[in-house]
């Protein structure tokens, strides 16, 4: 019996010791941790290094200069795009260094969702109508197992609606041109973005036997931001030697983007008069370094047709 009591006593002692332990443990907790500790606790719990984040704004607009960029308008956004090229700089004072002349393209593009865009346009050059679909297949991400590049796929067709008087029967298929393009872009830093655009332009009808129905080109373009709202743009479309037509040149362009509230103003100089793939990839005749330079601009105005909130 005594034995039993002694154990009972020990149990009681142990529970008291236990209580004390708890009390001291609790007491140690009483001095409040400094506020930054709570924040760092929170940061530790919420900073999820595994979370993948989409890289935004690789380029400012849906165009780099002449060609498309990987960007698409978001879901429910309509862009009204005015693209304009004056005449060549070397056309002399009589033509006011090109400003007397104008080539224009008016375009609309609408984001059906965040990935798929549909667009239409009308160029004064060859009175061309064009329509396109653009699909964001992959988006560059950061975080764990990041996707290194964004990829956008592009398909368009263009129809020349000029009235010809040369006696040739320009049927509808003969007037059509198709473009297929993959745009692969990477935003290396908040300031530097680079894009590669392998492209095929298929023309149903070409003027001479020496010309190619299929023109294969690789576009190289880059953006370097100069400030928060301005950027320097460069673009070059290199055609494979096997698809160069006599008398034509590779399209080269340099531009300066200025961003304001709802607009992006893009000012540029290029040796190409046209502003759609068919025109600048297969019908560029100007020699940039001889002064066949077209000064031009793109202005994009965004309209939100379906607000997101």
């Amino acid at each position: 019996m005594l034995h039993f009591y002694s154990y009972g006593f020990r149990a009681a002692v142990m529970s008291i010791v236990g209580l004390l332990c708890v009390a001291t443990a609790a007491a140690q907790d009483v001095p409040p941790p400094a506020a930054p500790d709570l924040l760092s606790d929170l940061e530790r719990q919420t900073t999820d290094t595994l979370r993948r984040e989409t890289v935004q704004a690789t380029f400012k607009g849906t165009r780099i200069i002449n060609g498309h960029s990987v960007e698409t308008p978001g879901a429910g956004t309509l862009i009204f795009l005015i693209s304009h090229r004056f005449g060549t700089l070397n056309s002399g004072a009589y033509n006011f260094f090109g400003l007397d002349q104008a080539t224009i393209r008016l375009g609309l593009e609408y984001g059906l969702n965040d990935r798929l865009t549909v667009g239409v346009g009308r160029s004064s050059l060859e009175k061309t109508y064009d329509g396109f679909l653009k699909y964001r297949a992959l988006r560059q991400t950061s975080g764990a197992r990041p996707m290194p590049v964004s990829i956008t796929l592009f398909a368009s067709s263009a129809i020349n609606t000029l009235r010809y008087t040369d006696g040739v029967d320009y049927t509808l298929p003969r007037r059509l041109t198709y473009t297929y393009q993959a745009m692969i872009a990477r935003k290396f830093s908040p300031n530097l973005s680079v894009q590669l655009s392998p492209t095929v332009v298929h023309r149903n009808l070409v003027d001479t036997r020496q010309m190619h129905n299929d023109v294969v080109a690789l576009g190289v373009a880059g953006r370097q931001k100069l400030s928060k709202r301005t950027a320097l743009m460069l673009e070059y479309y290199y055609r494979l030697p096997t698809s160069e037509d006599p008398g034509t040149r590779n399209a080269i362009a340099a531009g300066f983007d200025i961003e304001t509230g709802g607009h992006v103003f893009q000012l540029h100089v290029t040796n190409s008069q046209g502003m759609i793939e068919k025109h600048f990839m297969t019908q560029t005749y100007g020699n940039f370094f001889d002064g066949d330079i077209y000064f031009g601009f793109n202005v994009a105005r965004n309209f939100t047709l379906k607000p997101r909130l």
């Binding site: 034995h3 039993f4 154990y7 009972g8 020990r10 149990a11 009681a12 142990m14 529970s15 236990g18 209580l19 708890v22 443990a25 609790a26 907790d29 409040p32 941790p33 506020a35 930054p36 709570l38 924040l39 606790d41 929170l42 940061e43 530790r44 719990q45 919420t46 984040e53 935004q56 704004a57 308008p73 978001g74 879901a75 956004t77 984001g111 908040p190 928060k228 709202r229 961003e259 304001t260 509230g261 709802g262 965004n302 939100t304 607000p307 997101r308 909130l309």
Partner: protein, 199 residues
């Protein structure tokens, strides 16, 4: 006899264990946490109204120590217009450089008894608000309320973009309010374990 002794020993350990658990429980109950807090802000100007919402605000409130901390991923703000969202991240908040906005501070007074009895309670949080890499000492009025074991927090306070070196170009100066109204609404659950113990 020995069996009885063993039982007694076991009960002593059980007592100890339950006491430990109780202590942990008591501590956990004072801490509330969420990762899905809603923060909205409004900018009202004669030209246009701008509104954005984030539903990824994380917060910890400790009623015992009256400490609290918030952290908001700046990129989580959703705007009506995609272009606004892009400008917000790229030009104004520079979220690549400053990915988070934080608040850390202390509640001036909490009447725990009244809180348990129900009904909203007016409180003031005082502490450091960091936006765009700039930290300022602010006082934020708000309310706390316990609803079914969750701590519901509401607060509305003004933020002047200029105070946080958020530079607005002349061209759109009329579009963005000098003082933006920020609204916080969240429902925090009890943090099951002390935050530091989580992996």
């Amino acid at each position: 006899m020995t069996l009885l002794v063993h039982r007694m020993r076991a009960s002593a350990w059980l007592l100890l264990l339950s006491l430990l658990l109780l202590a942990a429980g008591a501590r956990a109950q004072s801490r509330y946490m969420t990762r899905e807090g809603v923060v909205t802000f409004f900018s009202s100007s004669p030209v246009e109204d701008i509104e954005a919402r984030s539903q990824q605000t994380a917060a910890i409130l400790d009623l015992q120590t009256r400490q609290l901390a918030f952290t908001i991923p700046v990129k989580s703000f959703q705007f009506k217009r995609t272009l606004m969202q892009e400008h917000f991240n790229e030009n104004y908040l520079e979220s690549d450089r400053y990915p988070k906005a934080t608040f850390t501070g202390k509640l001036t007074a909490v009447d725990a008894e009244a809180l348990r009895n129900g009904g909203p309670q007016k409180v003031t949080a005082e502490g450091d608000l960091t936006i765009h890499g700039v930290t300022r000492h602010v006082q934020v009025p708000g309310t706390l309320e316990l609803q079914n074991g969750r701590l519901v927090v509401h607060a509305t306070f003004p933020v002047a973009p200029a105070d946080y070196k958020i530079e607005i170009p002349a061209l759109v100066r009329d579009h963005i309010a000098k003082i933006v109204s920020v609204r916080v609404a969240m429902s925090c659950e009890t943090a099951g374990l002390p935050a530091a113990a989580r992996p």
